[in-house]
């Protein structure tokens, strides 16, 4: 194996500085936001001291907490449904072969390709036309659609990476189909399911545009609430709640990443 990075032949001028600037560009806003969330000053323009107070204010704001609760309800329901349908679809797509599989894959990836604003418009029109009242239910359905590819892709990748001989070996050793699934397929698929479910959960927590369109009154999720706050102006509360959302997302991705790594 070639040792990378050490050979001067691979050094091209400007590459390393650009990379450094890019990483700074990626993380500067995140750090600034988190730093501001600890700023004592009400006006949030100048630094006057360190405080946790704004987090207290956020956690004691009943509207924010209600929005957060809605977000959690939506994200858990959508994650559950999206992951479940992704698991069985993944099993079918990798353990069976038939004409039209490419087409099925294209359909499964569709929510990733169609611009979010278009999905939002179409979904809103659909719910209004079929006469479904906008609320938590419509948000959950819309999120489930959007989350399916995020759950499906890691699960399918895991299934594809699995040696089909393992399932044959189980059958060869007298395990019936159900026990083969429970004792061999499922334990090996587990990391894929977990990482797919986590990604679906974060995506649901973060999705704004679709939610904004189909939420209706009373189903405000955290991103929709934050959007409303931002439009009113920059306040320490926005900083604190935004920083909280960032940290939750980062924690989840890190966890999902670590799970994927340990089990490889």
């Amino acid at each position: 194996m070639l040792k990378r990075g050490s050979n001067p032949l691979w050094r091209f001028p400007g590459v390393a500085p650009t990379a450094l600037i890019v990483f700074a560009y990626l993380y500067l806003p995140i750090f600034i936001l988190i730093a501001y969330s600890f700023n004592e000053n009400r006006l949030a323009t100048i630094w006057t001291g360190f405080t946790f107070d704004w987090y207290g204010v956020v956690l004691n704001n009943p509207d924010i907490m209600r929005a957060a609760r809605n977000s959690l309800i939506v994200a858990s329901s959508a994650t559950f449904m999206a992951t479940l349908s992704a698991i069985i679809a993944g099993l079918c797509m990798t353990r069976d072969s038939f004409r039209g599989q490419q087409g099925v894959n294209a359909i499964m990836a569709l929510p990733l390709i169609v611009p979010e604003i278009v999905t939002a418009v179409a979904t809103l029109l659909f719910f209004v036309i079929i006469g479904m009242k906008l609320g938590l239910m419509t948000v959950i359905i819309a999120h489930t659609v959007f989350c399916i590819p995020f759950a499906y892709l890691p699960i399918r990748a895991r299934l594809q990476g699995m040696d089909p001989r393992l399932e044959e070996a189980a059958a060869d050793l007298y395990a019936d189909p159900w026990r083969t699934f429970r004792r061999v397929t499922l334990p090996l698929l587990w990391p894929g399911i977990l990482s797919g479910a986590m990604l679906a959960f974060i995506i649901s927590l973060d999705t704004f545009v679709i939610t904004y369109f189909v939420a209706g009154a009373g189903a405000t999720t955290l991103p929709v609430y934050i959007f409303g706050m931002i439009r009113i102006g920059i306040t320490p509360e926005v900083n604190a709640v935004s920083a909280l959302m960032l940290l939750v997302s980062i924690a989840f991705v890190t966890l999902s990443f670590l799970i994927g790594r340990i089990q490889r």
Binding site: P29, L33, A89, I107, I113, V114, I117, F208, V253, T254
Partner: protein, 299 residues
């Protein structure tokens, strides 16, 4: 394990694929067709649509407006918004490529341990809330923000420069939002690159520039193409970034569409705009697939 779910293969496939395909088919594909249909309906007097009354008014309205005499007069307002969206999306793509390519190249040259960490670092911003990330740029770009403070401190300007609510702010925000989409595919194609090929090029008398342009870039092309399309498509349909960083003067297609369902209450026009955006996106996707991939879902 699948034969346990019934002898009939078709029934089995139906049962397993059914839920996912039903959810996407019924709640996404059907609504998209419905949206296309709504775009040719007469607009309702108080919002909504008038069923059974078909018209191409929504598409005519895109280019023309009616004057007092009810004559059609060319109106380029909407065209200008489309043009601005294209320019911003294209500019975003170019800037993302210009800074993303060296970054991906740098990542691909690091030792394996570091590479995984760097990928992770590039992925994190992607998984964090888009709204929050764009909001962070308001903090940075506003008159009293960090960027302006920096410029004043350096003595480059006395007065804060107007950065927020300009095309520049929107461009910065869009690039920031979608840069990981550019870096990751390019990295994926560069990571597979056998460095001995570059050595072979040196061995055959190529200098650094030649090795880069004749070996590295051609081999990274699939990644560059994938990254470009992955940045261009969401940038074109962006809503959050122009809304937060562009203000009312830097509208993009996304904001125009949203407006039809908000204040303007012109559903057919909103549906038509969304349909046009979808068509553009699907066409660019097709072009990309035809040129760079044999079939979707492969490679």
């Amino acid at each position: 394990m699948l034969e346990g779910l019934g002898r009939n293969r078709f029934l089995r496939r139906g049962l397993l694929l059914g839920p996912a395909l039903f959810v996407i088919g019924f709640f996404m594909i059907l609504p998209l067709f419905l949206m296309a249909y709504v775009s040719i309906l007469e607009r309702g007097l108080a919002g909504g649509v008038q069923w059974g009354q078909h018209t191409l008014e929504a598409y005519v309205r895109f280019l023309f407006e009616r004057d007092l005499m009810d004559n059609l007069v060319v109106n380029i307002d909407y065209l200008r918004i489309f043009g601005r969206s294209f320019a911003l999306a294209f500019g975003t793509m170019i800037v993302a490529l210009a800074i993303g390519l060296p970054t991906a190249f740098y990542m691909a040259l690091q030792p394996a341990r570091w590479r995984n960490l760097l990928i992770f670092l590039v992925t994190i911003p992607f998984w964090t809330n888009l709204l929050v990330r764009n909001y962070a740029w308001i903090l940075l770009l506003r008159d009293s923000g960090l960027v302006n403070s920096g410029l004043i401190w350096l003595g480059l300007t006395d007065e804060p420069v107007r950065l927020l609510y300009t095309p520049f702010a929107v461009g910065v925000g869009l690039t920031y939002s979608f840069l990981p989409f550019m870096i990751l595919p390019i990295y994926a194609s560069l990571e597979k690159l056998d460095l001995r090929l570059v050595e072979a090029a040196y061995d055959l008398g190529a200098n650094k520039w030649k090795a880069l342009t004749r070996i590295v870039l051609p081999l990274a092309l699939p990644g560059i193409a994938a990254g470009s399309i992955l940045v261009f498509i969401p940038a074109l349909g962006a809503y959050v970034t122009p809304e937060l960083l562009g203000g009312s003067r830097q509208l993009m297609i996304g904001n125009l569409i949203q407006g039809q369902f908000g204040a303007a209450r012109n559903w057919p026009f909103g549906a038509a705009l969304a349909f046009v955006l979808l068509a553009i996106v699907l066409c660019s996707m097709m072009l990309y697939l035809l040129r760079f991939r044999r079939a979707p879902g492969q490679g």
